[in-house]
């Protein structure tokens, strides 16, 4: 089930999609499934399940802390697939966000097969660019999985074109030059990047959706980003609600719901 399904729906409603991220196994495997389902209920259009990794170079302290907690709790790659299966069963397109080594270790083709049979939509690969990922591209193409590569404000025109041409599902635009984490104000680099990507996609005859991630933490920021992007991607702010709840499940879920509703309101206000 490609994320294209979600974009068809949100485009019909004339709004941007809300993409919500949590790492699998945080705070526990069952806890993350419950939390992700709560995010679906409260208004996320697409879910990103993070695969916790020991060396997350693109993540700031918040997601590092959650991934660390998940790994300490003994989460395995198979638990990530189980989480995807449970969330995808809600009918909401569900992708995995992962650093590359765990996929290579699991077996690229085997992972693609197991992800597809779990009902997963595809992969977001923060440290795998299309020119370094022929094996993943082949495995994803064989199963119609979404290949969501990142573009950055520093991407050259050539790389931007190469990357958007390789994406399926959506293009992930990193709004800032930096790591994940909530920021006080939205980035001034994101708008121009999305505009460049949009022009490039038009030249390629594609209407692929463009999502913007890194830094969004509230409805107002979501509304700003939704004014020019097809999707607003939120990670650290969701993780933060659960970290702040310090193990109190009811408090954490309530905060998660409240944040989702705020953000879902934002993408509808733009």
């Amino acid at each position: 089930m490609s994320t294209a399904k979600a974009f068809a729906a949100t485009r019909a409603e004339g709004r941007a999609a809300l993409v919500g991220y949590l790492p699998a196994g945080f705070p526990t495997v069952e806890g993350s499934i419950e939390a992700l389902k709560a995010m679906v209920d409260a208004g996320c259009d697409i879910i990103e399940v993070g695969l916790p990794y020991s060396d997350p170079v693109m993540d700031g302290p918040t997601i590092q802390a959650a991934a660390h907690q998940a790994l300490e709790g003994g989460v395995h790659t198979t638990d990530v697939l189980r989480t995807v299966e449970a969330v995808a069963a809600t009918g909401t397109p569900t992708v995995v966000m992962t650093y590359w080594n765990p996929i290579e270790r699991y077996g690229v083709d085997r992972f693609a097969a197991d992800l597809a049979s779990a009902g997963g939509a595809g992969l977001i690969t923060p440290d795998l660019t299309p020119d370094s990922g022929p094996e993943w591209i082949a495995a994803a193409d064989a199963r119609d999985l979404d290949k969501i590569f990142l573009i950055a404000p520093s991407s050259t025109d050539e790389r931007l074109a190469m990357t958007t041409a390789a994406c399926r599902g959506f293009v992930y635009a990193t709004a800032v030059m930096g790591v994940t984490g909530a920021r006080a104000s939205t980035s001034e680099l994101a708008g121009p990047l999305v505009a460049r990507a949009r022009r490039t996609l038009e030249e390629q005859g594609s209407d692929l959706a463009i999502g913007v991630g890194l830094g969004v933490s509230n409805g107002q920021q979501a509304a700003e980003v939704a004014s020019y992007a097809d999707a607003v991607i939120v990670g650290s702010a969701f993780v933060r609600t659960l970290l702040d709840a310090q193990g109190d499940r009811a408090v954490g879920l309530a905060a998660l719901r409240a944040l989702t509703e705020d953000l879902a309101g934002g993408v509808r206000r733009a």
């Binding site: 170079v57 590092q64 590569f149 520093s154 030059m177 790591v179």
Partner: protein, 405 residues
Amino acid sequence: MSGTTIEGSYGEFGGRFMPEALIAELDRLTAVWHEAMADADFIGEFDRMLREYAGVPSLLYDATRLSEVAGARILLKREDLNHTGAHKIRNVLGQALLAKRMGKTRMIAETGAGQHGVATATAAAYLGLDCVVYMGELDTKRQALNVARMRLLGAEVRAVASGSRTLKDAINEAIRDWVASVEHTAYCFGTAAGPHPFPAMVRDFCRGIGDEARAQCLERTGTLPDVVTACVGGGSNAIGLFTAFLDDADVRIVGFEAGGEGVDTPRHAATITAGEVGVLHGARTYVLQDADGQTIESHSISAGLDYPGVGPEHAHLAKTGRAEYRPITDTEAMDALALLARTEGIICAIESAHAVAGALKLAKEAPGSTILVNLSGRGDKDMETTTTWFGLGDPAETISSEAAR
């Protein structure tokens, strides 16, 4: 012979597994590096800095008393005598000069033992660049002297408290800094690992070790050594030595990894010996990892070898058989360190002691051969570890531990 086919790949190893945000900069760095290496002015300036500032070429020293004990002729390439006390100065002067060429005003670095951090802080002071060094919290404690040296040199040392709080986490944190600061900041990578162009660039800045040693050996002995050896963590000193000998088919090449408490225990850093192929810090190479591909924390008594990955060219040389890689335990390294100190009056770094210990083994296997060892660093920085290991702080304890040997 080094097997570089596509740029940045070494057989199946190497490559560039990095966030898109950094790719444009890595491309730019690659272009500027190529251009600089073809520029006589750049090479001239690099050579001048090495000669007039770093004390290079380092001596090749005939370790006759150690050789007598070992039963083979052991030649030591005295990189421990370089300015800042290790081979690392070669790499940082090259990268700092490139940083200036690229118009950068700030350098960041990761460090394990602190040698690369001290070298980077030194080069930054020498060339007038701001400097921030990331160091695992655990290593800042093991290497407090080097932290003080970096601070004295004007660098800011940031202790990294995430993950295993050692070298790999310092690299993670430096990459995070670089993603946000790339416009004005150069990442002075400390070893011949990481994404392209670092493995090749660091090798080229360090290859003077082998080029000099090869010429010095020919001049001294009239022939090439039978074996060249070095310790291997990430592998910059080793690739710096090995490169000059890759095409000398008769010269055996052996790298010594940190075997820690033994490769049959979980506490070691013998990546090629006991790791499996994976991707770490931007390159495909051998990695200490679990069944899910999570990096396993390495262990070595030597902070500079305490790294769960290894440079991709070493992975390739191991795979093709051109070089061999063998583990040396903490105990073997420390015994060799003491033996070298007592036979030659040289206190080497614990990293380098792994190569000395390896040479002693090779000597037993091939008595009478000539073994060239890269003595990559000096041991002052390790005196706290050494004092504890040998019980040197307490005279009574020292005597009993010596009696036990």
